[in-house]
């Protein structure tokens, strides 16, 4: 069996037993990246040398009989939103092109300590803002199931590289669905843990009260393996939870008898594509067959989720992204344009453009800020910064930001009420399967509505998982989502694993991933 066909759990077992070297495993995936990524564009940088060096060091360790970490020899792709001291960290933004942080994200440090092999940094929507990966400053990711379609976003590169077997597992981040939606559209399994379960330190912030890092893999079992390494308290993140990390892989095969799964009838409204609705209902039937009870529940404020999210997230983002101003790091506009008063220099015309008060910029500094940010950020990032700045500004705060926080409480209360009646909430991840690249890019609002089924999980701070539950007639994967109360990751993983023992959707590979003859 080729390393690229093995599950992550099998792969680390094989390395530990000496049946496979870390070097061989790493080479196999690097070879696939080399062969496939020209078409998919899942990686923003590949650290071939670093990965091979790490793999060789792990093999050496094993040879010497030194203890190996739990992920020894496992190639991992990391979303480019996580800081890595030895590789660029760009967030797919021109603003951070070539930026090298002087430190590792906590999750990256834990991966290294577990002897994982970081093969590269994956493409994404710029600063994790988007649901199609088209907002990358370095070109969109192509969905391995159909290269003309979007992989979803923002963790589209992580989803696509796992779907195309360019990495057995990947790290993503999820602020409003950015792990679950691309996992669904690419036919893989992706988990957004409970807020605070995984340290955010070193994750480039989009919306701090919503962001959460999670594993993306081909199965629940592989997600469990990865989560066990990355989860846990970090004293360097004040919002990190102290609860101990359970062995996520230990309890996966316990049957689902007695587990109550909520079904929200309102999810099956007019916007839901019939093929998706059908596959999702089939999945409920499979869970019933596996022993679970399906109970219809109401989430009365779910409809308000997208509007609430698109206030809170941009407000936080407008502040989180203020640091990208060209002063201390990142893109700075060319100094030639910074002195409008100089003869021959570009002078902002009076009354034209903004950043200008009564004509030109009030100082060279303000001009440097305004132009650096205008040049460094893409259109969607600018829209959200503008929206958030507006919603927090004097006179609008109460109507927008404060109102959204109140609705957020109502949404969280819906979850608390629901989890009195059920153990999990099931449903679609996205209303449709993967859409065409360019299909929604002209209409920001249509793109926001893609997040309909995923944003409430983040607003409530609970956990959610997405995995394939069928395919469209056109051969595109369809995702199913389960959500659970805070810290119920073991149940999310177990339910998914049980489902994946009854079905083989998660084993299907896109044609592009087939080995060349």
């Amino acid at each position: 069996m080729q390393p690229s066909d093995m599950s992550a759990v099998d792969l680390v077992t094989a390395v530990r037993h000496g049946d496979l070297t870390a070097l061989r495993a790493t080479e196999a995936f690097l070879e696939r990246i080399e062969r496939l990524d020209g078409q998919i564009n899942a990686f923003l940088s590949v650290d071939r040398e670093g990965a091979l060096r790490t793999a060789a060091a792990i093999d050496e360790k094993r040879k010497k009989g030194q203890p190996l970490g739990p992920l020894a020899g496992l190639p991992v792709a990391v979303k480019d939103a996580l800081c890595t001291f030895d590789q660029p960290t760009t967030c797919a933004s021109k603003m951070l092109a070539g930026f090298r942080p002087p430190y590792d994200a906590e999750v990256v440090a834990r991966l290294r300590a577990a002897d994982a092999v970081i093969v590269g940094k994956t493409n994404m929507d710029e600063f994790a803002m988007g649901g199609s990966n088209e907002n990358s400053a370095f070109g969109p990711v192509h969905n391995p199931w159909d290269l003309t379609r979007a992989p979803g976003g923002s963790s589209g590169g992580s989803a696509a590289c796992v779907a195309a077997d360019m990495a057995p597992v990947a790290i993503g981040s999820d602020t409003g669905g950015s792990i679950r939606q691309p996992a669904g559209l690419c036919g893989i399994t992706g988990l957004k843990p409970t807020y605070g379960r995984v340290s955010r330190r070193g994750l480039v912030a989009f919306a701090s009260s919503l962001d959460q890092i999670g594993p993306m893999a081909r199965s629940a079992g592989d997600c469990a393996l990865l989560l066990e390494t990355i989860a846990g308290h970090d004293p360097g993140d004040a919002t990190s939870l102290e609860s101990p990390v359970p062995p996520y892989g230990a309890d996966l095969d316990r049957p689902l008898e007695g587990v109550r799964i909520g079904r929200v009838p309102a999810h099956f409204g007019a916007g839901l594509c019939p093929e998706v609705a059908h596959a999702v209902e089939e999945a409920f039937a499979a869970f019933r067959a596996a022993g679970a009870t399906i109970i219809d529940i109401d989430m009365p404020h779910a409809d308000a989720g997208v509007a609430t999210y698109y206030l809170i997230a941009p407000c936080e983002a407008s502040s989180n992204l203020a640091r990208y101003d060209g002063a201390h790091y990142g893109h700075r506009a060319e100094p030639g344009r910074l002195h409008p008063a100089e003869p021959g220099g570009h002078r902002a015309e009076p009354g034209k453009g903004s950043g200008a008060s009564g004509g030109g910029f009030e100082s060279a500094l303000v001009e440097m800020y305004c132009r650096s940010r205008a040049e460094g950020f893409g259109p969607e990032v600018k829209r959200r910064i503008m929206l958030g700045t507006y919603a927090l500004s004097a006179g609008y705060y109460d109507a927008y930001y404060a109102k959204a926080l109140k609705v957020r409480r109502l949404i969280r209360q819906d979850y608390l009420d629901a989890f009195e009646k059920v153990d999990l909430i099931g449903g679609p991840v996205s209303a449709t399967a993967a859409f065409k690249l360019g299909e929604k890019s002209g209409d920001p609002l249509a793109m926001y509505l893609v997040d309909l089924y995923t944003v409430c999980t983040n607003l409530a701070g609970v956990g959610g998982i997405s995995f394939p539950c069928g395919f469209t007639k056109g051969g595109l994967p369809i995702g199913f989502q389960l959500q659970a109360p805070a810290l119920a990751e073991p149940l999310l993983l177990r339910a998914t694993d049980r489902y994946q023992h009854l079905t083989d959707w998660h084993r299907r590979r896109p044609a592009i991933a087939a080995r060349p003859r």
Binding site: D237, T239, S319
Partner: protein
Amino acid sequence: MTATLTAAVPFTTVIGLEVHVQLQTRTKLFCGCATTFGAAPNTQVCPTCLGLPGSLPVMNRTAFELAVRAALALGCKIAPFTKWDRKNYFYPDLPKGYQISQFDLPFSSQGALEVVDPKGALTRNVRITRVHLEEDAGKSMHDETAGTGDTRIDLNRAGTPLCEIVSEPDLRSPQEARAWLNELKLLLVYLGVSDCNMQEGSLRVDANVNLHIPCDGGRIAKTPIVEIKNMNSFRSVERALVYESARQYEEWQATKAEMGKTPKQTRGWDDPAGVTRAQRHKEESSDYRYFPEPDLVPVTVSEEWLAATREAMGDPPSVLREALAATWKIPPYDADVLVNQGRELVSYFEDLAGRVGEGKVASNWMQQDVLRTLNERGGSIDDFPVRPAAVADIIGRVAKGDFDTSRAREIFAEVLASGRTVDDVVASMGIAAVDDDELISLCRELLAANPRVVADVQGGKEQAAAGLIGQAKKKNPNVNPGKVRAMCLELIRQM
């Protein structure tokens, strides 16, 4: 003093102060970088205080506790629940693009600190609006001679913990403002909250000032409030306020402009020139878009925590002044002088007074000898070479009559200069107690040589005996002048 000054002008100056003090922690508010003053630029920085992508803040417990201590000492109510907010604005000394501060739920509010003027009658209760905890910004340095050159940014100071103390506009004169600041500084230094070193920027003051001017018909005209910045000593605060009061009065006489019709003006104090100057007003600068800091969790302060903080706090200066006066039976003026020198000096005094047994004597020595020489030498009382035991030893020997006070001062000076023990110094100066036989023969000698003095005394002019003391000292520097005088008079009576 203040009262006469304010009475001399046809208006009342109304002043509120905003004080930022750097808390005495080893590390910054949200990261483990040191806060040592004077380090080479950009050497005390890390991803968090540089505002690098992905970095996160974690609250320094000591900073929070010191801030609570300050608030308690200022009589503030401590909020049972407090949180932090982001204050958003762009400036290159603020690398995150926002300052973590407190907006609508500061950890404390509604306190007060009295201005105490023990020499005068004036005591004024100045209310504290709020005290909150926030992070400092870095330093921007601009070489003005270079004209359009770059501004240099040092982020060592970025993220240093600051306590912001805002008073109500309860102060009524520049002198009073200065006195209040002195008292505030003393309090914070006593409690170990801050070293309040203005030169190093650990204490910064902004003042809000306007005038209340009585007009015809009993109406009070209020001039527009001006905020004064850039004052780098308490003396400049006083000078700036004096200047600004006069400036506002002149302006009012010319324009009759009153409060509320113009936005609050900010003026900077130019110390060498002795004037305040208007600073450029930025239209959008006031829209800070505060919102709750999502990277930090709120703090709830329990009653037990407060009780423990109070317990560990020690007495504030105002309590100490009264306690010192009562315990050692010294005048309020003495207690004030001693307490204002700081907690270490008070400990020194208490040690000394305990050994001497007489507060007033100890206090006199403190003020006339210890403090005077300490001020000449500089340095702290803890490093002062003459310890309380030695001073008490000297005072004790004076009381026993071994030598007089002026001789004692010479001994004190010699102990201080040489670092030797009192015994050593007394021996090396040849100071030995003069016994009665020696004294009698010395006095007989003197009387024999000065028949005129004897005659004068016998004629009723006892004070003539004083003329003998100088001669006695010449013959034996160790004689006690009082004893010489008494012995001579006795011998003359026996003649």
